[in-house]
C-alpha cells in the first residue's frame, strides 16, 4: 500500500510540472491558434463555477433576489454592528491610538507590533481589487454600487473586529515562539470551550478547505488576471502573450514562496505603501482638476444607489454587487485577515480586533471610494465607445482623461498590489493547507498555487471572477457561523476592555513610563 502512495505524490508533482510547461510546447508548435489548450482550461474553470453556483449562489426571492451567500454576509455585518453597539464608530479613535504604538508592550506575547500586524494584513487586502474591483462594480451595478461598497466597508468594520478579536484570543503560541492563528484555530478551540467541540472541529476543517481553495481565486487568479490586464494595457505587444506573462509572474511568485528570495517580498512591502500613497494623491489630483463636478459625481453615486437605471435586479442588484465587491476587497467576514492579525504582540485580544477594524476603513471606505469617484467623475464608464472596457482597463482609461501617463502608474501599482496580495494569500492558503495536511506537505500547495497564477493570467476575467467570488464568499459561511455562536463572548470581552480603558487602568505605555516622574 505504501509505495503506490509515494508514487502518487510524485505523480502530482509531475502533473503540476507538466501542466506548467505544456502550453509552451503547444505554442511552439502552433503560434496562430492559442485557443485549444487555454480554451480547455477556461472550460474547466467554468464547469467548476457552474457547480459552485448551484451550491452557494442560489437566490432568495426569485430571479432578481439576493444570493444566499451575499445575504449571509450582509446579515453578519449588520448583526455585529448592532450587537457590538457600533464598535466601528466608537472605537475608531482608540484604534488609531493603538496603531500609533501608544499601547505597545514588549513583554506581551506575540511576534509583531499592532502597526506591523495591520500593515501585514493590509498587504493582503489592498490588492488590485482596489483599482479593478471598483471598476467592475460600477460596470455591473452602476455608480450606485460604489455607495453600497462604502456601506459594506462601514458595516464590515464590525465583522472584522469580531473575527480578529477571536483570532487573537484563540491563537496558539508554538514552541518556536511563532504564532498560529485564524479561523481554523478559533473555530475549533473557541467552540470547543463552549462545549461544541464537534461543531467547532467541523467548521474549522470546512474553513480550511474553503480558504485553501479560495486563496487560489481572490488571492491569486483574480490578481494575476487583472495584473495582466493593467500591464498589457500599456504594453500592447503583450496581447496574445498572456501565457508568457503568466509564466514570468508564476516564476516571480515562486522565487518568493518557494525559493525564499525574501528580498522581492520586502521590496514589494516597501513599494506597495508608496504606490498606495501615489495612487491616492493622483485620485485627489483628478478631483482637484474637476473640482466643480465633484459634488455632482457624489450626488450621482448616492442617487443611483437607491434608484439605479439599467442595472439587472434594480436596487437589490446594486446592493448585491456593492457588498460582494467590498467583501472581496476588504475580506471582512471571510476570516482570512485574522490569520495575520493573530501575530500582534498583545495580551488584550480586543485591542487587536479594534486595530483590525481600520482595515475595511482604509481599504474600502478610503481607497476604493477614491477610485469610484474618479471613475464617475471622468464619465468614461458611461461612454458608449468604452463599453468593452472593464476592471483595471476601465480605471486606467478614466485616469487617462486627466493624467495622460497615469495608465503606466496603474500598471506598476497594479502589478505590485497584485504581487503582494498573492504572496499574502499564499500564506493564508498555506496555513489552511498545513492545518489540514501538516507542515511537511506545503510544497504541494505551493505547486498548485503557482500553476493557478499561470491559469489566472491566461483565462478570461468572467469565469475567474465567478470562481474567486464564490470561493471567497464561501469562506464566510463557517467563519461567520462560528462568530455568531461566539458573539456573546466577543461582547463580554469588549465590555470588559472598554470599562478598563475608561477607568484608566490601561494607561498607554508612554504614560506608564512617565508616571513616577510626574509624581516626584
Amino acid at each position: 500500500m505504501k509505495k503506490p502512495m509515494f508514487r502518487l505524490k510524485h505523480y502530482l508533482y509531475g502533473l503540476a510540472f507538466l501542466l506548467i510547461f505544456l502550453p509552451q510546447v503547444a505554442f511552439a508548435q502552433d503560434d496562430a491558434a492559442p485557443v485549444g489548450f487555454l480554451g480547455s482550461i477556461e472550460a474547466g474553470v467554468q464547469s467548476v463555477v457552474d457547480v459552485l453556483n448551484l451550491i452557494f449562489y442560489f437566490k432568495i426571492g426569485g430571479e432578481n433576489g439576493m444570493p444566499f451567500i451575499v445575504l449571509w454576509l450582509v446579515i453578519g455585518a449588520i448583526f455585529f454592528t448592532f450587537r457590538l453597539k457600533f464598535i466601528n464608530v466608537r472605537a475608531f479613535k482608540h484604534a488609531i491610538d493603538v496603531v500609533r504604538g501608544k499601547y505597545d508592550s514588549e513583554e506581551d506575547e506575540g511576534d509583531v507590533s499592532h502597526f506591523q500586524a495591520l500593515a501585514a494584513a493590509l498587504s493582503g487586502t489592498v490588492g488590485i481589487g482596489n483599482i479593478a474591483g471598483v471598476a467592475i462594480a460600477i460596470r455591473l451595478g452602476g455608480p450606485g454600487a460604489a455607495f453600497w461598497m462604502t456601506m459594506a466597508g462601514f458595516l464590515g468594520m464590525s465583522s472584522k473586529f469580531a473575527e480578529c478579536t477571536l483570532g487573537q484570543k484563540y491563537r496558539v503560541i508554538k514552541p518556536d515562539g511563532t504564532v498560529g492563528g485564524g479561523p481554523m484555530y478559533y473555530l475549533s478551540r473557541g467552540l470547543s470551550a463552549m462545549g461544541l467541540a464537534p461543531v467547532g472541529k467541523a467548521l474549522a476543517v470546512i474553513f480550511a478547505v474553503f480558504c485553501a481553495i479560495g486563496s487560489l481565486g481572490i488571492g491569486n487568479m483574480f490578481q494575476a488576471n487583472q495584473a495582466f490586464a493593467a500591464v498589457s494595457n500599456v504594453l500592447p505587444f503583450l496581447n496574445g502573450l498572456s501565457w508568457l506573462f503568466g509564466i514570468v509572474l508564476a516564476l516571480i511568485v515562486g522565487l518568493v514562496i518557494l525559493g525564499g528570495i525574501e528580498r522581492i517580498g520586502a521590496v514589494a512591502g516597501v513599494l506597495v505603501p508608496a504606490m498606495a500613497v501615489i495612487y491616492a494623491l493622483a485620485c485627489f489630483w483628478v478631483m482637484l482638476v474637476k473640482l466643480p463636478e465633484v459634488p455632482g459625481a457624489i450626488g450621482t453615486i448616492i442617487a443611483t444607489a437607491f434608484n439605479p437605471e439599467a442595472v439587472a435586479g434594480g436596487a437589490v442588484g446594486a446592493i448585491v454587487i456593492g457588498f460582494q465587491r467590498a467583501a472581496f476587497s476588504n475580506e471582512a467576514g471571510l476570516g482570512s485577515a485574522a490569520i495575520a492579525h493573530s501575530a500582534a504582540k498583545t495580551d488584550e485580544p480586543v485591542r487587536e480586533g479594534i486595530v483590525a477594524l481600520l482595515e475595511p476603513f482604509i481599504d474600502t471606505m478610503f481607497i476604493c471610494n477614491l477610485t469610484a469617484i474618479v471613475i464617475v467623475l471622468t464619465g468614461v464608464y458611461a461612454d458608449p465607445t468604452a463599453a468593452d472596457l472593464n476592471g483595471a482597463q476601465l480605471s486606467a482609461a478614466s485616469f487617462e482623461t486627466v493624467i495622460s501617463w497615469f495608465p503606466y502608474v496603474i500598471a506598476v501599482a497594479g502589478f505590485l498590489f497584485a504581487l503582494s496580495t498573492m504572496i499574502s494569500w499564499s500564506y493564508y492558503g498555506q496555513q489552511s493547507w498545513a492545518y489540514l495536511f501538516g507542515d511537511s506537505t506545503v510544497n504541494i500547495y505551493k505547486g498548485i498555487f503557482l500553476f493557478c497564477v499561470f491559469v489566472g493570467a491566461v483565462v478570461n476575467l468572467g469565469p475567474i471572477l465567478d470562481f474567486s467570488d464564490i470561493m471567497a464568499l464561501a469562506m464566510s459561511l463557517p467563519n461567520l457561523l462560528g462568530c455568531f455562536l461566539m458573539s456573546g463572548l466577543i461582547a463580554r470581552e469588549l465590555n470588559s476592555y472598554m470599562s478598563r480603558l475608561k477607568s484608566g487602568e490601561m494607561l498607554p505605555e508612554a504614560q506608564v513610563a512617565q508616571e513616577p516622574l510626574l509624581r516626584r
Binding site: D176, G177, T178, L436, G438, S440, I444
Partner: protein
C-alpha cells in the same frame, strides 16, 4: 547486534502529545541516557508571515525557544534533560541527514495520526523516514 544497548538513538519530536511516546521505549533500548538524542525540524517561515515580513524573529531565536521549550517540557514529563538538535527545512530529509551525521543506530518515532485523504495523498513522515533512513527505524503504534 541485539535490539538492546543501542549506542546512538535518535528521537524525532514534533511536540504533539503523541511524539513524547517515543521517549520511554527509546530509553529502554539505549545503553544509557547519553545515547539518546532528539531532533525537531521547524518549517521555514512563509515570507508573508508577519513575523518574517517584519523580521521580528530570527531563525536563531526560533531555535533557542524550541530548546528552552524542550528543556521545560522534559522536566514536566519527568525525563532527564536531553540534547536536542533544532533545524529548519524539510522534515524527513533533515531527520535522515542528522541520523547519518550522528551515526545513529536506531530511530524511534510514533506513526503520525494522519487519516483519510491526507494519509492517502502524502503518507506519513514516519513512512518516509523508514524508506530513506540508513539505520533501523522503530515505529510505535
Amino acid at each position: 547486534m541485539s535490539w538492546l544497548n543501542r549506542k546512538s538513538v535518535l528521537i524525532p519530536i514534533d511536540f504533539s502529545d503523541l511524539s513524547y511516546q517515543a521517549l520511554g521505549p527509546a530509553k529502554e533500548l539505549a545503553t544509557d541516557g547519553s545515547s539518546l538524542k532528539l531532533i525537531h525540524v521547524l518549517a521555514p517561515l512563509h515570507p508573508a508571515d508577519p513575523a518574517a515580513m517584519w523580521d521580528a524573529i530570527s531563525d536563531d531565536d526560533r531555535k533557542d525557544k524550541v530548546r528552552a521549550f524542550t528543556h521545560k517540557k522534559l522536566g514536566e514529563l519527568g525525563y532527564d534533560d536531553l540534547p536536542i538538535q533544532v533545524v529548519i527545512g524539510d522534515t524527513t530529509s533533515k531527520i535522515v541527514d542528522y541520523a547519518q551525521e550522528i551515526d545513529a543506530d536506531l530511530i524511534v518515532m510514533p506513526s503520525h495520526g494522519r487519516k483519510g485523504v491526507s494519509r492517502f495523498l502524502i503518507g506519513s513522515v514516519a513512512e518516509q523516514v523508514v524508506r530513506l533512513a540508513h539505520c533501523p527505524v522503530l515505529i510505535l503504534k
